[in-house]
Amino acid sequence: MKRHLISAKDLTRDDALLVLDTAEELARVSGRSVKKLPTLRGLTVVNLFFEDSTRTRISFEAAAKRLSADVINFSAKGSSVSKGESLKDTALTLEAMGADAVVIRHGASGAPYRLADWINGNVINAGDGTHEHPTQALLDAYTMRRHLGSLDGRKITIVGDVLHSRVARSNVLLLSTLGAEVTLVAPPTLLPVSVGTWPCKVSYDLDSVLAKSDAVMMLRVQRERMNAAYFPTVREYSRRYGLSAERYSHLPEHAIVMHPGPMNRGVEIAAEVADSARSTIVEQVGNGVSVRMAVLYLLLGGAQPAIGADK
């Protein structure tokens, strides 16, 4: 594993399995009455959020605190950072404050790579622009593994705005590393032009894929995409690519339904499907903490020989 976790490509198959196995172990801690481990005592983790995401920030914060790290939340939105003070200046400030790891969420693709050029601490990408969100992919894989067992040969369908989705990008990379067979389903306007070179299959027809899916991940569709003519109307989108109760009924018995949140109920997913027994949407949130604990532990703890070494 590299020093930073910026892209799902940073993880080899062994790295990824180690993260998932570690997360399993750490999840047991969460079941105890004292939820804290002393592992990262004395280390400082900075949550550097240039973009609002209370959910992801709290998840990282809880993960760091359960490992006894000191946590500094640095919300750059609306502060002097958002205009005038550059990312580089912020990086130098964090460096001076002795940050051992920086969890960065940023609206610009690649911002974590720039940060990694400027600081010594570990950089963990908590979502950058339309690039990647690797810990989301890890928690998704973790959730799938809990329900489906090994991901080797499993058929995973990801539906919706792949073009603008950092979640889809990270998932395609990670799930193919883990041996799953990914199919992306979207209107052609919401697929990257070079998607043919990605390690996955592509379909424009959701119904033809559903019956063979072990897991279906619905992506959020932004209503503003409509104005840019990515699809004609929300109604047409929902009809062709939404997971309705009718479509849900064609899924295999064991299949699970996922969503990275926040959902547009009634657009990409019907309310009754989101709340159904096979929906893992709420569970994903809890799993996020365990997975992020594992990532922080492996990057910062230095206990595992495969981890923490420079690339």
Partner: protein, 434 residues
């Protein structure tokens, strides 16, 4: 005026000759010239080229003198072997009136280390709505012949047609920055595999190609001269080739960086960085297939010339997230080396071909009588002496440009400009500014 005797320079065609410079002109070219009054320069192993001419330079003055000035930019040009540059119009204020182009022209006369020919804006404020006073700029002291809204595309077909027609009255040329604005809204880099992986909004080749195709048709329809700035895609080369096959009056330029770098640099730069905005440029770096087509197009003359698109930016405008970074890279001081690496060392062009693409053709397109002339007695002594065997890492700290946004810093490139003469006066000697 002092005399210079250049001994044993390889002149184009490969012969080794002496060149005597006197009274700003080439007085004599021959073997064993004797000139006791002349200062002698040993040019053994060096190539003598006609002084280079750039059709596309951003000098940033007036307005962004912190990034570049006429003085610093022309010093950089001289170090790069240039004796004339065209100063692009996207300054602050925009060079869209006789007053501003004359100001730049005067600055060039006063402080220039090479000749400065201002480019006039096609439309007022580069806004693309209303023609600027093209005639007044043409008739001004600056004698403008090249008009461009560079940085912006003249995307309104009617405005473009009128501009092409109007400049015929004074043998002008419209130099188009071909970029369909709607297809490139928010675009960050070449649209393709790399942009998809990086999650950066793609900039499709067709956004450039569709405008070039339209403009070629317009230029043919009204019988005017069109020049296409910084062609960057294989498809664009094909369209220019087609237009030329029809006999239309279309010329095109390519930048050194589009001949040498690809969009893969944005993902894994040769210096090991990802998303390094040093590679963010307009038009964007394209694929290896595009680079190959551009090289072939320059070699066979489809693309007429090399233009640097020297675009200086302050450090803080590049040391940032990719999306926020300014577009552009400097190029004057590395152009000859990059073109040597891309075209000469690969066997695609010989030195005469390089002189044609970097001096003769750009001077012709810009209608500069005193530049781009073959080295022969009676010509103005605009000469560049170049050492193609030299090899070193590019050290940007020594650049004369005020800006440092070069993608080549730390990389090894061939060649070095040893001397530059502007009308017989050295602007660079032994690699150093005079």
């Amino acid at each position: 005026m002092s005399q210079y005797l250049i001994r044993n320079a390889a002149i184009l065609g490969g012969d080794v000759r002496d060149i005597l410079i006197r009274d700003g002109e080439i007085a004599e070219i021959g073997i064993g010239i004797e000139a006791p009054a002349a200062e002698v320069i040993d040019a053994s192993g060096l190539v003598a080229l006609p002084g280079l001419v750039d059709l596309h330079t951003h000098l940033r003055e007036p307005g962004r003198e912190d990034n570049e000035t006429v003085q610093s930019g022309t010093r950089a040009a001289a170090r790069g072997g240039y004796t004339a540059v065209h100063a692009m119009a996207n300054t602050t204020p925009v060079a869209d009136t006789a007053g501003v182009v004359e100001q730049v022209w005067h600055l060039g006369r006063e402080f220039g280390h090479c000749d400065v020919h201002p480019v006039g804006a096609v439309t007022e404020g580069l806004a693309g709505k209303k023609l600027a006073e093209l005639g007044a700029m043409a008739e001004s002291a600056a004698n403008v012949r090249v008009f461009s809204d560079d940085g912006h595309c003249v995307d309104d077909a009617v405005i473009m047609r009128r501009a092409l027609e109007y400049v015929k009255a004074f043998d002008g040329v419209v130099a188009q920055h071909a970029q369909e604005p709607r297809l490139t809204e928010g675009a960050q880099m070449n649209e393709g595999e790399v942009s998809d992986r990086l999650g950066l909004r793609g900039w499709p080749a067709v956004a450039e190609e569709s405008i070039i195709a339209r403009d070629c048709l317009l230029a043919a329809h009204v019988g005017s001269r069109l020049h296409v700035c910084h062609v960057s895609t294989a498809g664009s080369v094909e369209i220019v080739r087609w237009a030329k096959s029809k006999g239309w009056n279309v010329t095109a330029e390519v930048t050194p960086h589009h001949l040498f770098l690809t969009d893969a640099c944005c993902e894994h730069s040769p210096l090991g960085r990802s998303y390094d905005p040093i590679y963010k440029v307009n038009p964007p770096l394209r694929t290896q297939a595009d680079v190959d087509a551009l090289r072939a197009g320059l070699a066979d003359g489809t693309i007429d010339c090399v233009a640097t698109d020297h675009a200086p930016h302050a450090v803080e405008d590049k040391e940032t997230e990719w999306a926020d970074a300014a577009m552009g890279m400097i190029g004057l001081e590395t152009a000859l080396s990059v073109v040597q690496a891309a075209m000469v060392d690969t066997g695609l062009l010989d030195w005469a071909g390089l002189a044609d693409r970097m001096s003769v053709k750009p001077a012709e397109i810009g209608r500069l009588g005193g530049h781009g002339r073959p080295l022969e007695s009676g010509s103005p002594a605009n000469i560049t002496l170049y050492d193609p065997a030299y090899r070193a890492q590019v050290d940007a700290t020594t650049f004369a440009s005020k800006s440092r946004n070069t993608p080549y810093a730390g990389l090894e490139l061939p060649g070095r400009v040893v001397a530059t003469f502007l009308r017989g006066r050295p602007t660079v000697l032994e690699g150093k500014l005079v």
